[in-house]
């Protein structure tokens, strides 16, 4: 359509889209980080043989995670529409992107947290119990420090997955870089805009990965 890209017009829009992506990703990660950590811990401690063993709670939480996780995100966004409506009062726009992103990310993080905790030496938890550490102390003084490095890497992985999700929610008018690339690039056959946006996303993902790796390395040898 147009061979001349009007960057004077597009740059402010690109900046706005970048801001929207950062906002969506940050809020979703904040919620998913807290909720996913809690959910992952809950599944771990209620697992058979662990110190808050509870079959009902474990089964329900495990089923919840297993049910949500395999749903393709693009479908999940619409499937949770009623819940989104109830939570934020609308099903389109940037606010409407938060519930599906946060829920899907929380569930993914919960599984990552649980897997990293299961990989710990159970003898260490037994020892802490023998020493009379309370349940909360075991969580904060044993489980989290022991799994800190892998948990940071898991959160890094999650951040990148959430950046990926943020491109999909453009469909429901949430804006962001993915939406920008489609509306101003793809739909107008302007590949220059598409590739410029892709480059920005690649740099963003690389920055997250480098930062995550550095933090994990620091945690692994304090």
């Amino acid at each position: 359509m147009n061979n001349e890209t009007d960057w004077d017009y597009l740059v402010p829009l690109l900046q706005k889209a970048f801001g929207e992506t950062l906002w969506m990703v940050s809020i979703s990660l904040l919620i998913a980080g807290v909720a996913g950590l809690a959910l992952g811990l809950a599944v771990y401690v209620t697992r058979r043989g662990n110190f808050l063993e509870n079959r009902i709670v474990f089964t329900v939480l495990n089923l919840l995670i297993n049910t949500i996780r395999p749903i393709p995100f693009i479908i999940f966004v619409f499937a949770v529409g009623p819940l989104t409506m109830a939570l934020v009062g609308r099903t389109i726009g940037i606010e409407a992107a938060i519930p599906p992103m946060a829920i899907m990310a929380a569930v993914a993080f919960a599984r990552l947290v649980e897997q990293n905790l299961v990989a710990l030496d159970p003898g260490v938890v037994e020892a802490a119990r023998a020493m009379g550490a309370s349940r909360w102390r075991i969580v904060w003084s044993v489980l989290i420090p022991e799994a800190l490095g892998p948990l940071i890497l898991a959160f890094t992985f999650l951040t990148i997955a959430v950046i990926d999700m943020s491109a999909v929610v453009g469909m429901i008018g949430a804006g962001g870089l993915g939406d920008f690339a489609i509306r101003h690039g793809y739909q107008r056959f302007n590949w220059e805009v598409v590739w410029a946006t892709v480059a920005i996303i690649i740099v963003l993902v690389q920055l997250v990965q480098v930062l995550g790796n550095a933090l994990a390395r620091k945690a692994l040898r304090r």
């Binding site: 020892a127 023998a130 020493m131 009379g132 550490a133 022991e146 692994l220 040898r221």
Partner: protein, 251 residues
């Protein structure tokens, strides 16, 4: 914290048991158990066991695998509640206290050394030692200072920042000994503390364990199936099928 200050030992290194004449720092019965019984389903793990522990003295619990040694240690330490019998700590019945109170008791009055140390692999040695003290409410600085003193007196100076993976088996067990003693416990429980070590290293760990608990005036219970290891203790009991079949005073 409500415990006596530590008394680090400065005895020279040796890998043979100290002379039989070593004076026991007896300070009245620390712990007494009468008629301890425990079943797991149809298995009788303990069938009426009596134990007397004095402060500053050590007891080796010997016997073949499955004879009930660990179950006895767990009942004495309040990790398990016996089906029958009593456990008293300094005259107070503690065997049948509730979960929460037993947990507090373990934190405050007992120290533990496990077969594989069970140190937190991501924490430096000094923080591993400081942990029980922090569980008792000491702040990080106090706990770390105390841990540093313990490391120094157990010949671990300079290894404060090493992680368990960077220590030898013997060093890791000495860290475990320091961790067991940092809170000034009345009783130290050790389940196969040399089980993962070679003979010489095991002897060295037993020397450090018996000397430091004796110097601290704590009673020590060591579960082992190795007679050489038991030889470091003041007394021994031999178990078979949940009962004590032999008792001996070694020194």
């Amino acid at each position: 914290m409500d415990h006596a200050p530590i008394t680090p030992t400065t005895t020279p290194r040796s890998t043979t048991p100290p002379p039989v004449s070593a004076p026991p720092a007896t300070a009245g019965p620390a712990m007494t158990a009468r008629g301890l019984a425990k079943r797991f389903g149809t298995t009788t793990a303990l069938a009426g066991v009596d134990v007397d522990l004095d402060g500053g003295r050590s007891l080796a619990v010997m016997g073949p695998s499955g004879s009930g040694k660990s179950t006895l240690l767990h009942c004495l330490a309040g990790i398990l509640v016996p089906d029958a019998g009593t456990v008293t700590l300094r005259g107070r019945e503690v065997g049948t206290l509730g979960e929460r109170e037993r947990s507090l008791l373990r934190r405050r009055h007992y120290g533990f050394v496990f077969q594989f140390g069970q140190l937190l692999s991501e924490l430096p040695a000094i923080e591993n030692i400081a942990l029980p003290s922090m569980l008792l409410g000491a702040n990080r600085r106090q706990a770390t200072e105390l841990a540093a003193q313990w490391m120094h007196s157990l010949g671990l100076a300079g290894m404060e920042q090493r992680r368990p993976g960077e220590l030898s088996g013997g060093q890791a067990q000495r860290v475990a000994v320091a961790r067991a003693l940092i809170t000034g416990p009345a009783v130290v429980f050790a389940d196969e503390p040399t089980g993962a070590l070679d003979q010489a290293t095991g002897a060295e760990v037993m020397r450090v364990l018996t000397e430091t608990t004796r110097a601290a005036g704590a009673a020590l219970v060591v579960v082992t199936h190795d007679a050489t290891v038991a030889g470091w203790c003041d007394e021994s009991i031999e178990m078979r099928d949940g009962t004590v079949v032999d008792r001996g005073v070694l020194r």
